[in-house]
């Protein structure tokens, strides 16, 4: 288990990569309009399966919503 901060919340996750994290969270990694940042830097979609996660990492998973 790896301790991460995901979208502002601490979580213990058994995921080694961004792609595995998305699957565990029930997020379809093939869905359009998703973006992920790791420790303040965007991780391109093509790198999700290979990008490793380490204890203490901060992950942001975002999507567009209504806005002005």
């Amino acid at each position: 288990m790896t301790r991460l901060r995901i979208n502002g919340e601490e979580a213990e996750i058994a995921a080694a990569t961004i792609a595995e994290l998305l699957v565990q969270r029930g997020i379809d990694a093939k869905a359009r309009f998703l973006a992920v940042a790791l420790n303040g830097a965007v991780v391109r979609r093509a790198e999700w399966p290979s990008q490793p996660l380490s204890a203490g990492d901060t992950v942001e998973i975002v999507r567009p919503l209504q806005g002005g």
Partner: protein
């Protein structure tokens, strides 16, 4: 009149930009966007719910190909967060365009100009087409243009206030001097405000709350469309000079009884 607005070399078919927040329901939003004739529509970038991911309206809008989605950095109070939000938006929406918002006061939603110019400079260097929401301040607008912003978007009055254009002389001055297109953003309350913005020389108007929170958003969207067209036509036609005294419009010769 039919000359398209060019932003960063991209022609836009409508000079009315519309926000997508706060409509009573999804159908009213879709109908209102249709009635507005807008091509450029704004969206926000937010953390997804970790409990359940469902298709959002934005997935729907982005999938139609009818609208060009303009992501904003609303709510950001630091340049760092705004830059990351813009980069996430670029990845999520595959667009280099960003409406840059950097808020300096949560009650007023007033821009933090110092950080705004800094973030705009960074984002332009990273290849973004930056449209900053900014003060109605000719110097701030000039600085934003100087760092390479593709347009400037001065506020008419506070976001969501519906108070119209508080300082028309400043907006007109910005329009006269700006080397990049000027988009009036924030404060529009009703159609005449949008027409006034165009009459003052603005190249486009961005409206959200005035449409979304009206009693009939579909009709207000159509009204805004007409107002932007009317204001643009009036600007191009040129208003008459103001006079101190009456000037009769009917001929003064051949009056009955003289």
């Amino acid at each position: 009149m039919n000359d398209p607005l060019l932003i960063a070399g991209t022609p836009l078919r409508s000079r009315l930009f519309v926000g997508t927040a706060g409509y009573p329901n999804q159908q009213v939003l879709l109908d209102s966007l249709e009635a507005s004739g807008a091509e450029l529509v704004t969206v926000s970038i937010r953390r997804i719910s970790l409990d359940a991911y469902a298709e959002s309206l934005v997935d729907l809008l982005g999938g139609t190909g009818r609208y060009r989605l303009l992501p904003n950095t609303s709510g950001c109070v630091t340049a760092r967060d705004a830059i990351l939000t813009a980069e996430l938006a670029r990845e999520a929406l595959e667009t280099d365009w960003v409406k840059l918002e950097l808020i300096g006061d949560r009650d007023l939603l007033y821009p933090d100009v110092e950080q705004l110019v800094h973030a705009a400079d960074e984002l332009v260097r990273k290849g973004f087409v930056v449209l900053p929401y900014c003060n109605e301040d000719p110097v701030a607008c000039q600085k934003l243009a100087d760092v390479g912003c593709a347009a400037v978007m001065p506020l008419g009055s506070l976001i969501g206030s519906g108070r119209g254009i508080a300082n028309p002389a400043a907006i007109e001055m910005i329009c006269t001097r700006s080397p990049v297109p000027v988009v009036l953003d924030a404060g529009i309350g009703t159609a005449s405000d949008a027409a006034q913005a165009m009459e003052l020389g603005c190249d486009a108007v961005l409206v959200n709350t005035a449409i979304a929170k009206s009693h009939d958003p579909r009709h207000m969207a159509a009204a805004m469309r007409g107002a932007v067209d009317a204001g643009r036509l009036a600007r191009l036609a040129g208003r008459i000079p103001e006079r101190d005294f009456a000037e009769p419009s009917s001929p003064q010769l051949g009056l009955v009884g003289t």
